[in-house]
Each structure stands twice: as structure tokens, then as C-alpha cells.
């Protein structure tokens, strides 16, 4: 398959070609796009893959070409990661805003489902039942009585928390 290296022969020919590629690489490095830098880096690698014979001088040209290619590619990758990093702070802020919108939506759904009202009624029903049971066990030993009282106290605390939450929401 014909390529830009097919007709090059001898050290001078290869050196001239490398000089030409390095000039393009310099321009790409200074003012080119990432894809332009990658394209010339690929051509420099191609240079090393096509140059021959493997004399000491030509191997030296290969080394220069491959090092230049590597520099361009690492520069490219670091630049792209930096571009991504430059947007991270804004993305964090956007994520917080979207998370807040999600939480607000979940709270709105809970409100529509009457969750607080359900919890308050459950707590009150439990309180009434516990009070009935307390009445029934008054003749039992003290330990059972204490346990029931603790249960009632817990229920009262839950009820208070619900009422406070409701009041707090109204206040807000």
C-alpha cells in the first residue's frame, strides 16, 4: 500500500522527511487542535515503522521521531483531562441543585401520599392501644408494668416528633 515513506531512500532522505514531520509537529504543538497533534504523532510513529535500513544513524532518527510522538500524545491526553477537570466544579454545583430538586420532589410525593398524617394516626392508635394494655396489666408484677410504660413513653415521643415536624413544616 503506497504511503508517504515509500520512495524515501538513504539517511539523507529519511533525515529530510523527519525534519519535515518535526516542523509540522512543532506547529501542531503550538497552535493545533488535539486531533492535529495526534495525526502528526501517528505520522512520526509511522516514520519509525517504515524507515530502513536499521543503521545506527537511522535508528537515531527513529528514536527522535518516537520521542516527539510520545511528547505530543501525552500532551494531548493531559490537555483533554485538564479540559474535563475545568468543568468539574460547575458539574458538582449542578449535581447539588439536581439532587435538591430530587429531594424536593420526593418530599412533595410524601406529602401527597399523606405520609405524615398516616404516621401521626398510627402513633396515636398505638398510644390508645398501649394505654388499654397498661390498664389490663396493672395487677401484674412491676417489671411488666415498667415495660408497658416504656412502650407508651416511646409512642408519646414518636407522636411528639411527628407533631413537631408538622409544626416545623408549617413554620417554614
Amino acid at each position: 500500500m503506497p504511503n508517504e515513506f515509500a520512495k524515501i531512500n538513504g539517511y539523507e532522505g529519511w533525515k529530510s522527511k523527519l525534519d519535515q514531520l518535526l516542523a509540522v509537529a512543532k506547529t501542531a504543538s503550538e497552535s493545533g487542535t488535539a486531533s492535529a497533534r495526534r495525526r502528526i504523532a501517528d505520522r512520526l510513529t509511522d516514520f519509525a515503522m517504515h524507515s530502513h535500513p536499521d543503521t545506527e544513524q537511522i535508528v537515531e532518527l527513529d528514536t527522535i521521531a518516537l520521542e516527539a510522538a510520545r511528547t505530543l500524545l501525552v500532551e494531548n491526553i493531559e490537555g483533554e483531562v485538564s479540559d474535563i477537570a475545568a468543568r468539574t466544579a460547575e458539574l458538582n454545583t449542578l449535581a447539588k441543585r439536581l439532587g435538591a430538586a430530587g429531594r424536593a420532589a420526593t418530599e412533595a410525593a410524601a406529602s401527597i401520599r399523606l405520609e405524615r398524617a398516616h404516621r401521626a394516626v398510627d402513633a396515636m392508635t398505638e398510644l390508645v392501644r398501649a394505654a388499654d394494655e397498661l390498664d389490663a396489666v396493672l395487677t401484674d408484677d412491676d417489671e411488666t408494668l415498667r415495660r408497658k410504660i416504656r412502650q407508651i413513653a416511646g409512642t408519646l415521643l414518636a407522636l411528639r416528633a411527628e407533631i413537631e415536624a408538622t409544626l416545623g413544616r408549617r413554620g417554614a
Binding site: 524507515s51 530502513h52 483533554e80 458539574l91 412533595a108 410525593a109 394516626v121
Partner: protein, 318 residues
């Protein structure tokens, strides 16, 4: 007092009719396609990030860059969690509005249980209370639709600019990811060339040129010497070709790895398009929602009439 209690279901039914007329009872838009596309999009972003990090780690000298990339992409993964949370919130609103009537009825049942436990209910009033709960649940079902629509509108209105901007950022990120993957693939090819690939290619070309010369010599003078030289050149080409093919196979595997990463980035881009389209569709469906539907009004009227008839029947039984 008993008269007032007995009138409650009728009042409720009338209020229900007013609520229905003033709000309509059309359904809210389906949020599940948006939730589904949000999950796909989130999975795509995370998978693309993992693939690119792996590409970077294929070159030891890029380990620091890979770590830096991981830190940046973690922020994208966190943003995707927020995307999922937001989508789940929208689904929850729609479901809550759809289930509101049942929830209200369930609350009514609980209140009945509470009243019974507290011993404040006249058993004779049970049926009347049940109708009252039905009516109240019906009213609440209508109110919940309006509240659901308002909550959805508010959430989507607040989120729209955020979603637009996230889409823009991820879109630009994907361009960067593509370039990183392509550059990493070029870098692997460069490393293969450095680690012997270039030498193998050069050696193969030299040997091929020598064989060509040996072939020309043998064609001009088919002597034993030229024949042996040609056979030796053929043998050398075979050996050099095997060595070169080993490097070519490495380059092929590297390219396949890059193509797989590019495919994941492409999937992420597709997911992004579907995600933003699903949000736009949902916003449009919410906006185009008919404020008053004749069909739904007719259905609601039938329901109110049934409630009133049930109430009258209860009264007649007394």
C-alpha cells in the same frame, strides 16, 4: 350534632364536584420512560469513565493522569446519582398522585380504627362514615392530581436549566474522552514501535528487499548458489514476518481496545440524547395536559352522583 355528621358526605360530594370542575382530573404524564433513560444514561457515563481509565492505565507512565482522571470522573458518577434521585422523585410524585385516593381512603380507615379504639364512634354511624371517607378520598384524589401536577411542574421547571447544562458538559466531556482514547491508542502503538516493533518492521523490509534481489539473481542465473541464496532469503523473510506479525497483533489488540472504549462513549452519547429527549417529552406532556377534560368531567360527575345516591340510600335505611 348527628344531623351535621350525616350531612358531611353530601357536602363532600358537592365539594368534590366543585373540585373536579375547577381542576379536571386528567392523568399526569408517565415519568417511567424518563426514569429508565436516566438509569441508562447514568450507567453509560460510569461505564465510559471506567473504560477510559483502563485505557490510560495501559501505559505505566500515564498512571498519574489516570488517577487525576478518576477523580474528575467520580464527580460525573456523583452527578449521575443526582440524576437518578431526581428521576425517582418525579416518578414518586406521579405515583403518589395516582395512588392518592387509595391513600386517603386508607387514612380514613385508620381514623376509623383510632376512633373505635378510643371508643368514640357510634356503631350506627359506621356506614355513613364510610361514605364520607369515600367522598373525602375522591376529593383528595382530585386535589392530589393538581398538587402532583404543580409539584412536577415546579421540579421540572427548576431542573430544566440544570439538565440542559449537565447535558452540555457531558457532551463536551465525551469529545474529550474520544480524544483521550484515540491518543492512548496512538501512544500504545508508539510504545510497541519503541519496544521493537519499528526494528522488526525495518528488518522485514530489508530482508524483503534482499529476497527480491536474490530472486532477480536466480532468474538471471539459475545456479545452485543463487538458488541456495534465494532459499535462505525466503527462510529469513518467514522468520522476520513472524516477528513483525507479533507486533502487528499487539497493535491490533490495542486498536480493538480503543474501539470498545469508543463504543461505550458512543453509548453514553446516545444515552445522553435519549435522557434529554425524555425530559423534554415529559415537560411537553405536562404542559399540554388538558386542564379540563370533558370525558374525565363526565366520569367524575357519575362518581359524585353515585356517592350522593349511596348517601340517600343510607338515609332511607334509617
Amino acid at each position: 350534632m348527628r344531623t351535621r355528621l350525616a350531612l358531611w358526605p353530601l357536602v363532600a360530594a358537592v365539594v368534590a364536584a366543585v373540585v373536579v370542575v375547577s381542576t379536571g382530573c386528567t392523568a399526569l404524564p408517565d415519568a417511567t420512560p424518563f426514569a429508565q433513560s436516566s438509569r441508562e444514561f447514568a450507567a453509560g457515563v460510569k461505564a465510559a469513565g471506567r473504560a477510559v481509565a483502563e485505557d490510560l492505565r495501559s501505559d505505566e507512565q500515564l498512571a498519574d493522569v489516570a488517577t487525576q482522571f478518576d477523580r474528575q470522573w467520580e464527580a460525573r458518577a456523583n452527578a449521575m446519582d443526582a440524576v437518578a434521585q431526581y428521576a425517582d422523585g418525579l416518578v414518586a410524585i406521579v405515583r403518589a398522585a395516582q395512588d392518592a385516593r387509595a391513600q386517603a381512603a386508607s387514612l380514613g380507615d385508620k381514623l376509623e380504627v383510632l376512633a373505635a379504639a378510643a371508643g368514640v364512634v357510634n356503631p350506627a354511624a359506621g356506614a355513613s362514615i364510610a361514605v364520607g371517607i369515600d367522598a373525602a378520598s375522591f376529593i383528595y384524589g382530585q386535589i392530589a392530581l393538581v398538587r402532583g401536577a404543580a409539584s412536577l411542574h415546579e421540579a421540572m421547571h427548576q431542573a430544566q436549566p440544570v439538565i440542559d447544562r449537565i447535558a452540555e458538559i457531558i457532551s463536551r466531556d465525551s469529545d474529550n474522552l474520544r480524544e483521550i482514547v484515540e491518543s492512548a491508542a496512538s501512544l500504545r502503538r508508539q510504545a510497541i514501535a519503541t519496544s521493537g516493533g519499528a526494528g522488526a518492521a525495518s528488518f522485514l523490509r530489508d530482508i524483503q528487499q534482499r529476497r527480491e534481489q536474490a530472486r532477480r539473481n536466480f532468474a538471471a542465473d539459475p545456479s545452485v548458489t543463487h538458488r541456495d541464496a534465494l532459499l535462505a532469503a525466503d527462510q529469513l523473510v518467514t522468520t522476520a514476518r513472524a516477528e513483525y506479525d507479533r507486533f502487528e497483533a499487539q497493535i491490533g489488540r490495542s486498536r480493538a481496545m480503543a474501539d470498545a472504549s469508543l463504543e461505550l462513549i458512543g453509548a453514553m452519547r446516545d444515552g445522553l440524547s435519549r435522557w434529554t429527549a425524555a425530559h423534554r417529552q415529559m415537560a411537553r406532556a405536562l404542559k399540554d395536559r388538558q386542564p379540563v377534560s370533558v370525558d374525565s368531567l363526565a366520569d367524575a360527575a357519575v362518581e359524585v352522583r353515585d356517592l350522593v345516591q349511596r348517601l340517600r340510600a343510607l338515609r332511607d335505611q334509617r
